[in-house]
């Protein structure tokens, strides 16, 4: 059942709102875990846009891209959590701003 144009616009708007929220979260939060969560929200916003677009044009590509994004997100979380763990070991905090030793 194809999505109507109005629904498409609303869904894309939702995706944009989600993406912006994630982005703002990434910029505002200093906790590494919360930054990873924000990244997940941004990825899911992109996935939502793909799914909605695939539904609108009756193409499977959107869903394939969503699966791709899911695996990407899984990989990203694996690496990101490992990094967060190492980060905590080294700095005894989860504040991302503490790791600013490369400043010029």
């Amino acid at each position: 059942m194809p999505v109507a144009n109005v629904a498409l616009n609303q869904a894309l708007l939702l995706a944009a709102v989600l993406f912006t929220l994630g982005l703002l979260g990434l910029l505002v939060r200093r906790n590494v875990i919360m930054m990873l969560v924000s990244l997940e929200i941004m990825l899911n916003a992109a996935g939502l846009a793909f799914v909605v677009a695939g539904s609108r044009w009756q193409q499977a590509d959107g869903q394939i891209m969503f699966i791709l994004i899911l695996s990407l997100a899984a990989a990203e979380v694996a690496v990101g959590l490992a990094l967060a763990l190492q980060f905590y070991h080294r700095f005894h905090t989860l504040d991302a701003d503490a790791a600013s030793e490369l400043r010029g």
């Binding site: 990434l26 910029l27 200093r30 991302a96 701003d97 600013s100 030793e101 490369l102 400043r103 010029g104």
Partner: protein, 629 residues
Amino acid sequence: MFHLIWLVPLLPLIGFAVLTFTQGRLIRPAVAWVGAGSVGLSAAVALWIGANFILHPPAGHAYTLTVWHWISVAGFRPTVGFYLDNLAVIMMLVVTFVGFLIHLYSTEYMAEDSGYSRFFAYMNLFVASMLTLVLADNLLLLYLGWEGVGLCSYLLVGFWYRDPANGEAARKAFVVTRVGDVALTIGLLLLYTHLGTLHIQPLMHRAAEQWPVGSSLATAAAFLVLGGAVGKSAQLPLQTWLPDAMAGPTPVSALIHAATMVTAGVYLIARTHVLFALAPDAQLAVAAVGAATLLLAGFSALTQRDIKRVLAYSTISQIGYMFLALGVGAWAAAIFHLMIHAFFKALLFLASGVVIHALDDEHDIFKMGGLRRELPSAFWPFLLGGMALSAVPFISAGFYSKDLIILDAWSSSAGSPWLWAAAWIGALMTSLYTFRLIFIAFFGEAKTRVRKRPGVRMMVPLVTLSVLSVIGGCLELPAYMGNAPLFTNFLHTVLPSVHALAASRTETVLELLSGVASLGGIYLAYLLFLRYPEWLRGFARQPWGAALHRFWAGDWAMDWLYDRVLVRPYHWFARVNRSDAIDSVYRGLAVVSEAIHGGLSDTQTGVMRWYALTMVVGSVIVLSISVFL
């Protein structure tokens, strides 16, 4: 056997290497053996080769030995090669023999100097460079020797470097000769670009084939070569360095600034005489430079107080005679005077070294006096050398060589009565200033006590050179004395004989007149400096007399002129431009890039959220541009 020629320059070079790398750790006798011995061996090899050359000349009266190819790039293949012909044989023998005698003398003269090893190292390097210069078969290798002797001259003039005045004299000698060397370099480049080779013999052949007589290229090349020769041989207008170069030790003055290096210019012009024959203008300039220099230096020598400066000006003047001879095409006469001059001028310097040593480094002739009885071991050599310098008829070698030049200045097709008159007045001046020196320093009453007397190692060179200064002339007897021009005949294969106008009775008159000049000058010196010295004192009291004296003593104010025209403006410019205007462009570049670096490095905060924000802003900007524009 001629293939051993490479040993002649190599032996002194080995001596230099040994003395340099032992860094003065050798004991003094060992230094003397290495220093003088290497040159002595070189002289022995040179004598062996020279004797063979004279007795069994090689085919074509020339022998070329190519040791190796120095450079090979894009058709430019100069060799390290030696060329032995009659001219090179004479130069080689003079350099090694006079060099060896002066080294022998130095082993005693310099015995108490703290830089004994350094001295012999430099001297050996000098002899090696000078031999490279005279034996080179191409102009590039000749130029290497040319610069080598210039370097050694610099090092040895400034040998006693603790006195800043000596360093200044050394720098002056180096910089002034450099002016000439630049001209020579340009000349060599000109010859190479137009004739395609630097090997002297093919070069001369091609020049004679491709350039007509008087062509502008030949004239330019000859003038540039003349520029180099003028600098090295201390001729007008670059003669100002030689009197100051007397700051070096006396054996250095004898070897470098009298006998060998300063005559390199004469050798160079004789070597490239084909070029000068193609450029009559340049050849006339050679004669004019020689005539002017011999007169100016003669007058300057008359007013000096320092014994070595008198001799320095006399060297300039005698090389002026050689240039005059080259200029009128009397090539062999120039080389003959070069050889005889090497003998008697080395003798004069070595004898003055004995005097300076005996009087504890006293150079002022007015503080000497009466040395005839006090120091006969210096007086007799000095008298014989002085006689040769003033060309006393028949009993001195200088008579035969100098009169040949004076005669050729008149009778050669390129000569003129004017050149002859200059040479004649110069001859009068020569005996005047020479015997002024002898009368003031060796006659009268003693003013300073003699403290040291020369030993055998100083006497052997003095005696040998005295003998040569007396009998050296029999190599070339003039027409009225049996007509045996052995020397000219020997050089005939290399240097063309002089184009003389028909011999006439004037020749006899001219011979008589030059005898008159020589003896008259001595008599005049006797009157002015020994018999009636009050005449000159009265003259010097006149204001214009004193002014003239100052003018001559200051080398015709040329030092003053160069100081005002060149040295002071240069110093002024260096002072004004202390911050270097051209450099400010590059300094500006550095300042700008440093500012950019500072700005960019401030953006590296290390805060990851900041990076993320800039990425977002950047992608928003790029997206907006691609969407809305």
